[in-house]
Symmetry: C2
C-alpha cells in the first residue's frame, strides 16, 4: 500500500483540529444536497459526544421531557398528521397505509407510554463486558459504549420516529432519521418536539435530526456518510432493505424481512400443530413474525391438512398449495376460490397478508432444505414430539430464531424480555433476532498500564 493510498479524508469531519491547518470538512463538499446531509450528520456526531457522556439520569430526564411534550402537543400533532393524511388521500394511498399513517389521541398516548417504558429499562452503556489483568500487569477492560450516530431509514408509521429516537438516546447515541415522505409533516413536528425536549434538559438538540426534507437523494447520502454514521438500520419492506444494502457504504443491519415457516413433523402432536399454525398465520398477518409457508410431513399430511386447511380458510386465509396438498384440500371440501397453485414465487414470498403457501414434504431433510433454500432467516418453527427431529431442525435451520412446539409469533423483543426493540435482524453480524438497547451499542477496549512497552 502506498502512502497516497491511505485515507486523505479525515475520519471525522465534525471534530475541529485545533493544532492543524484549516481542515476540510462537510463544508468543503460541492454538491449542496450532499453538503446539507453531511452537515446534519456532522452535527449529530458532535452531539453524540455529549450523549455518550450523559448519565442515565440525564438521558431518562430527556425521555420524560419527550413523553410529556408528546402528551402536551396532541392537538398540534394531530393537526400535522391531518396534513399528511389529506395528501395521502389525494395521492390515493390505500386504506391500510392511511391507517398506519394516522395518529390520534389514543395512539399518541400509547407512544408516550412506550417512551416511559424505555425510561424504566437499564442503561447498557458502561457495562464491563470482559476484563482481566494480563500477565504483564496491564489492566484490560472491554466496556460497552454507544455506537455514536445511528441512522434509521423507515417507511410510513410515524411512531417509528419517536421509537427510534428514544432507543438511540437511551443507549447514548445520536440519531439521524429518514422517515417515509407520506409522514413528512408529522415527522417534522415530532422531531422538532424531541429536539426541544433535549434542549430543555441541557442536551444538544442536534442529537436527533431528520433528513426528510432531502428526499431519496438525501437518504442515499446518509447511506454513504462514512466516518459520520456508525450504524444504519433500514426498517421496512424488502425493496427498501435491498436498496440500502446495495447502496450503503456505512455498516448496515438488515431487519424485518420474515418469510417464516411452520414445519409439522411426522411425530407432531397434531392438536398443537393446528393451534400453532393458525396462530402463526392469523394472529397478525402484517407483521414479520407471521408464518408464510406451512410444510407438512407426508406421513401426517392426510390427517393434518384436512383439519388445518379448513380452519385457515375459516379465518380468511387464501391457500397457495403444491400438488399433494391441493388434492387433500379438494378431498376436504376446501372452497376452490380460496385455493391457488403454488409456484416458486410463493415459496419466496413474504405475503404480509392472509395468504399461506403449503407444501407436503417427504422427510425432515426435505423440510430443512426447503427452509434453508427459501427462508429469509427470520423465524422457523417445528412441531414434533421427536427429540432427534427437534435437535436436527434447531441445529440445521439457519435462521435467527428457531422455535420448537411454539408459534413463530413469539419472535419479539418484548416477548424475549429485551424490553424494547429497534427491529429484528435477519443477518448474522452484530445482532441476530430482536434488537434491544444493547444491540445499539459497541464496545471499547481500555488498557491501563504504568509505562508498559511491548518487548
Amino acid at each position: 500500500m502506498s502512502v497516497a493510498d491511505t485515507q486523505l479524508m479525515p475520519r471525522d469531519p465534525s471534530a475541529q483540529g485545533h493544532s492543524t491547518a484549516a481542515p476540510s470538512d462537510a463544508g468543503g463538499v460541492a454538491d449542496p444536497l450532499r453538503r446539507a446531509v453531511l452537515d446534519i450528520c456532522s452535527r449529530a456526531r458532535e452531539a453524540s459526544r455529549a450523549l455518550a457522556r450523559a448519565s442515565r439520569a440525564r438521558k431518562d430526564e430527556a425521555l420524560e421531557a419527550i413523553a410529556a411534550s408528546l402528551e402536551a402537543g396532541v392537538d398540534e400533532i394531530v393537526a400535522a398528521n391531518a396534513i399528511d393524511l389529506e395528501r395521502g388521500r389525494s395521492e390515493g394511498l390505500s386504506q391500510g397505509l392511511l391507517d398506519r399513517l394516522r395518529l390520534d389521541e389514543a395512539r399518541i398516548a400509547a407512544i408516550a407510554a412506550a417512551v416511559r417504558h424505555v425510561i424504566s429499562l437499564p442503561d447498557p452503556v458502561g457495562e464491563v463486558v470482559r476484563g482481566s489483568t494480563l500477565p504483564n500487569g496491564l489492566q484490560l477492560r472491554q466496556l460497552r459504549v454507544p455506537m455514536g450516530v445511528v441512522g434509521m431509514i423507515y417507511e410510513a408509521r410515524p411512531n417509528v420516529t419517536v421509537d427510534a429516537a428514544v432507543l438511540a438516546l437511551k443507549s447514548g447515541n445520536a440519531a439521524v432519521l429518514r422517515g417515509g415522505s407520506a409522514a413528512m409533516a408529522t415527522n417534522t413536528l415530532l422531531v422538532q418536539r424531541i429536539q426541544d425536549a433535549l434542549a430543555s434538559v441541557g442536551l444538544p438538540a442536534d442529537a436527533v435530526a431528520s433528513i426528510d426534507g432531502y428526499g431519496r437523494d438525501g437518504a442515499r447520502e446518509l447511506m454513504r456518510a462514512r466516518g459520520l454514521v456508525d450504524l444504519l438500520v433500514p426498517r421496512g419492506g424488502a425493496g427498501l432493505i435491498r436498496s440500502v444494502v446495495e447502496n450503503a457504504t456505512v455498516p448496515v443491519i438488515e431487519t424485518g424481512t420474515g418469510n417464516c415457516h411452520v414445519y409439522v413433523d411426522a411425530a407432531a402432536d397434531l392438536d398443537q400443530a393446528l393451534a400453532i399454525t393458525v396462530n402463526a398465520k392469523t394472529r397478525r398477518t402484517s407483521v414479520c413474525n407471521a408464518a408464510e409457508t406451512l410444510l407438512v410431513h407426508a406421513e401426517v399430511a392426510r390427517w393434518f391438512l384436512p383439519q388445518v386447511l379448513p380452519a385457515l380458510v375459516d379465518k380468511g386465509v387464501r391457500l397457495h398449495l403444491d400438488g399433494r396438498s391441493a388434492v387433500l384440500a379438494d378431498e376436504a371440501g376446501v372452497p376452490s376460490e380460496m385455493v391457488y397453485p403454488a409456484t416458486d414465487e410463493d415459496w419466496a414470498t413474504e405475503y404480509l397478508d392472509s395468504d399461506l403457501a403449503v407444501a407436503v414434504v417427504p422427510s425432515l431433510d426435505a423440510a430443512i432444505d426447503h427452509v434453508r433454500r427459501w427462508s429469509s432467516g427470520h423465524t422457523e418453527a417445528i412441531v414434533t414430539t421427536d427429540l432427534r427431529a427437534a435437535d436436527r431442525f434447531v441445529a440445521e435451520v439457519d435462521s435467527a430464531v428457531v422455535a420448537v412446539n411454539a408459534s413463530t409469533a413469539f419472535t419479539d423483543g418484548g416477548e424475549f424480555g429485551l424490553g424494547a426493540e429497534i427491529g429484528i435482524s435477519t443477518q448474522k453480524l452484530h445482532a441476530r433476532g430482536p434488537m434491544g438497547l444493547a444491540e445499539l451499542t459497541s464496545t471499547k477496549w481500555v488498557v491501563v498500564g504504568d509505562g508498559h512497552i511491548r518487548p
Copy 2:
C-alpha cells in the same frame, strides 16, 4: 411493499428444494465467471452445514492434519513459492513485498505451530450466551453458532491463507479465500493441501476454497454473493479495504487500518512517555498498531521533544513536524535531513514505515479533537499521571482500543489473551479491536415450548 417487491431469488441457492419444482441456482447465472464464483460459494455453503455440526474433536483432527500436511509438504510448498518469487522479481516487486511473499522451512514450521496453537484454543460454538424461562413457560436460549461462510480478501502474505482457513474451520465456518495474485502458486498449493487434510478426516473439502483463479472480477463477485457469504473480512491496505466497502453487498468487517496516536499530556511521566513513544513507533513500523502521530501538550513540549525527537532519529525515524515542534527540533540539533514539514496529509496518513508526524497541542481538548478528526479508530495512547485527563481521554476518544500509560503495540489478539486473531476491527459493528474465534461466530435464539401460541 408489494408482493412483487419481495425476494424472488432464493436465499440459499445451494440447498436443494426436494418438494418444489426445478429450482434456479447458481447454475442459472449467465455470466460464466460469476457463475463459477457463486458455485464455489454455494459448495462452501453446503459444506458449512457439516462444519457447523462437527464436534471440536473432529475440527481439531482436521487442524492437526493440516499442520502435518504443511510439515510433510515443505519441499513442494517452497517450490511453488519459488514460482511466485521468480514472477515477483521479474515484475519488479519491492524487496519488502518479496520478503512478505517468501516461505522457507522455518516459516512453514512457524505456520504449522500456529495451527497447533489454534487446536489448543476452546471451541466457541455451542456456548449458551443467554438463557431464561419466560413467564409463559417458554424456554429461551441464545446459542453461539458459526457464521456459515466467511470470505477473506487479503494481500501478499501466504501465511494468511492458512491462518484464515484454520480460524474459520475451528469456529465451524467454511472459508472462501481470495489472496493476492502475487502469491497465487503458493496459495493454490496451500488450499489444495488444506482440502486434502479436510477430506482425510471425513470433512468436506469444499469447506475451504480459493477464488484466486478468477482475478479481481472474481473478488468482486465474492463481495456481492448475498445469501452465500455471511461475513467478508478484507485484510490489507486502505485501498483494498475501501474497495471492499464500496463494492460489497455482503456484511463486511473493516480491519487493520491503524493511524494510531500517542498523546503526551501536561502531567505525563516523561520517562514513561519517551519509552512508550519510541516503542510504539519503532518496535515494528509495518504493523497496524504502530504509532503514526505524536501529540505533545504545549506545557511539556520544550522538555519532552528535545528528548524524544533525537531518540527517534537515532532509530532512523523521519519526522514530519508542525511549526512548534520544528522549532524545538532545530534547537535540539535534530539533523534537518530527517525533518519534513507536516501537512494535513501527514495527519491522515498511516505511514507503516519509519515516519512519524508530530504536533504540539495547546490542551487535552485539542489532543482529543485531533485524534477524533484524523484517527482511523484503531488504537490511541495517552501518557499522563492525571486521573481526570486519563478518564476524559478514555471516554472521549472514539477508537477500538484506548491505552493509558502503555504502548499502542499491545493491541493484538495474542496480547489480549484471545488466543488468535483474524484481524483488528476498526468499525463498531459486531467486533471492535482484535477479533478472535468468538468474533467469527453469530448467535441463534432457540425457543422451546409445548404447544405455545401467542395471545
